[in-house]
């Protein structure tokens, strides 16, 4: 039964993925609206974490400003919605040419994917050619996140500055207030996008392109001497990852009903790194599980401790810092990475035993 053998050899984490999606599918049936709403937001963050995992976990490009791509997608929907509903802070009679796409619902949807893609394209074109050190990519993206946050605060004409934008429509395309899906309904919209994103990632990392990306992570110069041009692959994955982050941002804004500068700045950029690092990078499952565990715990603990201390959020950050240090020290491959290492070492042991047996047989036949 070769097919059955294939199923048995499936990496452990794919079973976790399956269980996770079944859990998410059933979640609204036994949870109240508040938690359905919370979980919708977490699922949008999961898409965001997946997009970073493609870039960081698989390709080794540690973007420290991935929130810029998330937030720029989110802001497109925010501005489109504010315009469609003529929010009271809107002081212009006509959308400027660079935001013209936002006048139609479908245009806003496209803009939320295209703008992050374009930002990634621009950064990538400069950073992925020549002999620029990998760490400079991290530093430039970090600087970008810092500046993007200042930028949206500064551009209050379009972004409502410090206060951010309230988005009351909760549909996939329409930005009008009157149209609104229930929390439950929108939960399944987000879940569908999460499943789609996950399947896309799963397909991609198993293609030859996915292997080339891992090759870039492992040993970029070796790849060059095999005839590959890594820059094209890096650009491709950065743009794809950026668009996926934009999608996550768009969904998140619709779930949460608002967006402000914290969704585009360094805070979120580093938070997503922590999720992926804790869950384990380079296997997709880690990104999903890390996000779920940490975001769920934060919400849950917040509801418990907020009565005791008003500074819960600050203590939580402290805990995250300690947790991150602990993870880097004890299990640098993250929670799921440990599991996969365990499976790999067991399989290696079996294979080694088989090789030994073969040697014995051969020498037994002709001593």
């Amino acid at each position: 039964m070769p097919r059955l053998k294939k199923v048995r050899q499936l990496p452990l984490n794919r079973w976790i993925d399956l269980a996770l999606f079944l859990f998410l599918l059933s979640f609204p049936t036994w949870q109240n609206t508040y938690w359905v709403y919370i979980m919708s937001g977490i699922m949008a963050y999961m898409i965001f974490a997946l997009s970073l995992d493609l870039l960081w976990g698989y390709t080794g490009l540690m973007s420290m400003g991935h929130s810029v791509l998330f937030g720029s997608g989110g802001y497109m929907i925010g501005i489109a919605s504010a315009w469609a509903n003529q929010a009271d802070w809107i002081k212009f009679d006509q959308l400027p040419w660079f935001l013209a796409l936002l006048s139609s619902p479908l245009g806003a949807f496209l803009a939320a994917l295209l703008l992050p893609g374009l930002i990634a394209l621009f950064i990538g074109l400069f950073m992925f050619s020549g002999k620029i050190r990998g760490v400079f990519f991290s530093l430039i993206t970090l600087a970008l996140a810092g500046i993007a946050e200042l930028f949206v605060i500064n551009q209050s004409r379009y972004t409502h500055g410090d206060s951010g934008i309230t988005v009351t429509s909760r549909t996939l395309f329409s930005n009008a207030d009157s149209q609104r899906l229930t929390d439950q309904q929108f939960y399944f919209v987000v879940l569908a996008f999460l499943l789609g994103s996950y399947l896309l990632c799963l397909w991609l990392v198993n293609t030859r392109t996915g292997k080339v990306l891992q090759g870039i992570r492992e040993n970029e110069s070796r790849l060059t001497y095999l005839g590959y041009k890594p820059a094209a692959f890096k650009l491709f994955i950065f743009v794809l990852s950026g668009m996926m982050a934009g999608l996550a941002g768009m969904l998140f804004v619709r779930v949460q009903g608002s967006i402000n500068h914290s969704s585009i700045g360094i805070n979120l950029a580093t938070l997503v790194l922590v999720w992926v690092a804790v869950g384990g990078r380079g296997n997709l499952t880690g990104a999903l599980i890390g996000t779920l565990l940490l975001q769920f715990s934060e919400t849950k603990l917040n509801s418990v401790f907020s009565g005791i201390s008003a500074d819960f959020a600050q203590y939580w950050k402290l805990v995250l810092g300690l947790l991150l240090l602990l993870i880097v020290f004890v299990i640098p491959r993250g929670l799921i990475g440990v599991l996969l290492d365990y499976q790999q070492s067991r399989q290696d042991r079996d294979r080694k035993a088989a090789i030994m047996q073969k040697e014995v047989n051969r020498h037994g036949a002709n001593p």
Partner: protein, 289 residues
């Protein structure tokens, strides 16, 4: 823009350049000599500024004592962090970034929870303001420029003229060879990291009178110091000097014309283009490969 205003912008820009140079030096040294990006750098600045506040402003001790305390405390903290944490992750980029980021969270949240959200103000140790025609310059900024150049020269002296400096350069060139010569590269690493952190603390104390001292002070320096390192490169400290001047003069002049955010965006674009053209920094020491 009137010529006198432009002159004023250029003068303040130049003064800020030396501030940026001082605040970036520790970062450049740690990155250049140890290949470690120290994300805790700007939080060390913040801690240095707090030390300055407590020693100079609150306790009323001389300013120089505050500077030395900030350097000493940060140096020791750096040595501790290197021995306990960083030394386990050499050569692993993601891990060092995550570990130093974790340290930065601990420093920042620690400051917030222990010292509160209140803004603290540190007085100028020298208060005179110079005036040439319509151009003004606070005398303290001159002091900072002097300190900044002094620290740069002292660092170069340490690296090129002392035995420890030679060991640092040797360890940088060829680690295993240096080790086989019986040099304790571990000690060299600890000293280098501690020195870099010490400079960050010192810089924090120096900038305390120029800014409001609060737990978010580190964050506000993050973008500029990191852009500075990317543009200046790590192969020469003169690259850092040049890039500091270039960044701050541009920020100053463009801010005068438009606003500081636009200035930062333009500077970031310039940094991206420069790093594309000169990936090893503005001043490249040619090396044999």
């Amino acid at each position: 823009m009137s010529p006198s205003m432009l002159l004023q912008l250029l003068v303040s820009g130049l003064a800020s350049s030396f501030v940026l140079l001082l605040t970036s030096l520790g970062l450049v040294i740690i990155l250049g000599y140890m290949k470690v990006v120290n994300l805790a750098h700007t939080e060390m600045l913040m801690s240095g500024a707090f030390i300055c506040y407590y020693v100079y402003q609150a306790a009323g001790l001389p300013f120089i004592v505050a500077l030395l305390t900030a350097f000493a405390v940060s140096f020791l903290f750096g040595a501790l962090v290197e021995r306990l944490i960083i030394c386990h992750f050499y050569g692993k980029m993601s891990e060092t970034l995550l570990a130093t980021y974790a340290i930065s969270i601990l420093l920042k949240q620690g400051a917030l929870l222990l010292l509160g959200k209140n803004y603290k103000k540190v007085d100028y140790p020298v208060k005179a303001v110079f005036q040439w025609g319509s151009v003004y310059l606070e005398s303290y900024k001159l002091v900072v420029a002097g300190l900044s150049v002094g620290v740069l020269l002292l660092t170069l002296l340490l690296i090129y003229k002392t035995k420890t400096g030679r060991m640092i350069r040797a360890a940088m060139q060829n680690r295993s060879m240096t080790e086989s010569l019986g040099i304790n590269t571990k000690k060299v690493d600890t000293l280098t990291f501690a020195y870099g952190m010490g400079l960050a603390g010192l810089a924090g104390a120096v900038i305390a009178p120029l800014s409001t001292v609060t737990y978010t002070l580190g964050e506000s320096w993050l973008t500029n110091t990191f852009m500075n390192v990317v543009m200046g490169g790590v192969s020469s400290l003169f690259g850092t000097l040049a890039s500091s001047v270039l960044i701050q003069e541009s920020v100053s002049v463009i801010s005068g014309l438009s606003n500081s955010v636009t200035a930062q965006i333009i500077v970031l674009l310039v940094v991206i283009v420069v790093v594309r053209l000169k990936p090893d920094g503005l001043f490249t020491a040619k090396e044999r490969r």
